[in-house]
């Protein structure tokens, strides 16, 4: 199980300040909901995909697209049938199958969905999770909340490994009963002992974690632990201006007049 969303690379997005990238992602997501022309929406989406391809590579861009493809197909196939307003485009006898309004709404929803997906994916593919956390701290995310998230990151592989090991040992005890022959309900019921064991292993670690947090100075005024800073990124102002300007320029270019 992987908990790393970072894709190694050295494009310009990798050098951009994470604080500015978070701002850009949020502004682009908001921009996609503004009343903009359909052409403008798709030009922006294509630009996002191009930026993604240049920075993270074609393979990652295609992988992202594949992950949303089933839903996109679903959206494009069913959305037009539900909107009955507007001029009819396809009719069977006297029954209107697809209207212009329906097709336009499906196109807009699809474009927005692709745009949101790439805006979010690009942030996490080009920024290490530690830098995302530091940027969120800069945006005043509370210390305890950051601590919970960073501690979770360290515990996810531990619990996942425990689950895998316990699951394997339970499977060995079953003596090679083929999974395909069992119904979904039987498989879910058989999963219960494995889940119980994995949970007990995870829960047993809580008192030790609490103890180690106290020993490291959690709750004291003079903390023994602290967060790094984002000093390695030297162009926070320039990057923030760029992040703010792009959605604003796109808005003036493509807004519905």
């Amino acid at each position: 199980m992987t908990t790393n969303t970072f894709v190694a690379g050295n494009g310009f997005l990798y050098r951009m300040d994470p604080r500015a990238k978070i701002m850009a992602m949020l502004l682009i997501c908001v921009w996609l909901f503004l009343p903009v022309t359909l052409e403008g929406l798709y030009i922006t989406v294509v630009l996002l995909i191009l930026v993604g391809s240049v920075n993270t590579g074609l393979r990652h861009t295609a992988k992202t697209f594949r992950s949303i493809l089933p839903m996109l197909v679903f959206m494009v196939l069913f959305m037009p049938f539900n909107v009955r307003l507007g001029q009819s485009l396809i009719t069977i006898g006297s029954f209107t199958l697809i209207t212009q309004e329906g097709a336009l709404q499906a196109a807009r929803l699809g474009g927005r969905f692709i745009g949101i997906t790439y805006a979010c994916t690009l942030l996490f593919a080009t920024t290490p999770m530690t830098d995302v956390m530091l940027a969120l701290r800069w945006y005043r995310l509370p210390y305890k909340a950051s601590l919970v998230v960073t501690l979770s990151f360290t515990y996810i592989p531990f619990i996942a490994d425990s689950f895998t090991q316990i699951s394997e040992s339970h499977r060995l005890r079953e003596g090679g009963v083929l999974e395909k022959k069992r119904s979904v309900f039987k498989r879910l019921r058989d999963l219960l002992p494995t889940l119980t064991s994995a949970l007990v292993v995870a829960l047993r670690s809580i008192p030790y974690l609490a103890m180690s947090l106290e020993q490291r100075g959690f709750g004291r005024k003079e903390k023994r632990t602290n967060y790094h800073s984002l000093d390695s990124y030297r162009h926070v102002f320039t990057d923030s201006v760029i992040s703010f300007s792009i959605p604003v320029v796109l808005w003036f270019m493509f807004r519905v007049r």
């Binding site: 959305m79 994916t121 998230v149 619990i159 996942a160 999963l191 889940l195 609490a210 959690f218 004291r220």
Partner: protein, 173 residues
């Protein structure tokens, strides 16, 4: 003493968040929206065992992180709200009673609220922000199945864990 409680609270929420992430990413059945998984099992277990705030934070954060790691970052804010509320509501209904002593009616009510929160929450938020009404409506049956399985298995798991590891009660807050 308060400091000790704070450290324990952080430890509990951190480990439970990791549990929710692992449960969400272990079993996946692809659907039009993404996938169905065991996250509701973990959320209901936490709600039945640990109380409303642990359930709200761990469920919301855990499912949002799982979406992020799985490449469905656009769903993370919606998952945070929907599953966070699911954990909160279920925990408020059962109020940390022992899973064995919860009355049958309360269990049924918790199940109904859990299924309603997940299916209606995803329907409303994804209809508004992501996919539109028709696609969001098509996901309702899947979400009902996933959350229904979650309540039943979550309740069974809460009882089993309590028997296997009795000190779990002292970790609730």
């Amino acid at each position: 003493m308060e400091k000790n409680r704070n450290a324990l609270k952080v430890a509990v929420v951190a480990v439970l968040t990791a549990v929710v992430v692992v449960f969400t990413m272990i079993v996946r059945i692809p659907t039009a929206k993404g996938y169905i998984n065991l996250c509701d099992v973990a959320i209901c277990f936490i709600a039945f065992t640990f109380g409303p705030w642990s359930a709200f934070i761990a469920a919301g954060l855990g499912t949002a992180l799982a979406d992020l790691f799985s490449g469905y970052a656009q769903w993370a804010p919606i998952s945070f709200v929907v599953h966070g509320l699911e954990g909160l509501f279920v925990a408020l209904i059962v109020r940390q009673k022992s899973p064995i002593t919860i009355p049958f009616v309360t269990k049924v009510l918790a199940g109904i609220i859990c299924m309603a929160t997940v299916s209606l929450g995803y329907f409303a938020l994804s209809a508004i922000f992501i996919s539109g009404v028709s696609v969001a409506a098509a996901e309702i049956p899947w979400n009902l199945v996933q959350s229904g399985v979650g309540v039943v298995l979550g309740l069974a798991l809460a009882g089993a864990v309590k028997r296997a590891y009795p000190p779990v009660s002292s970790l609730a807050w």
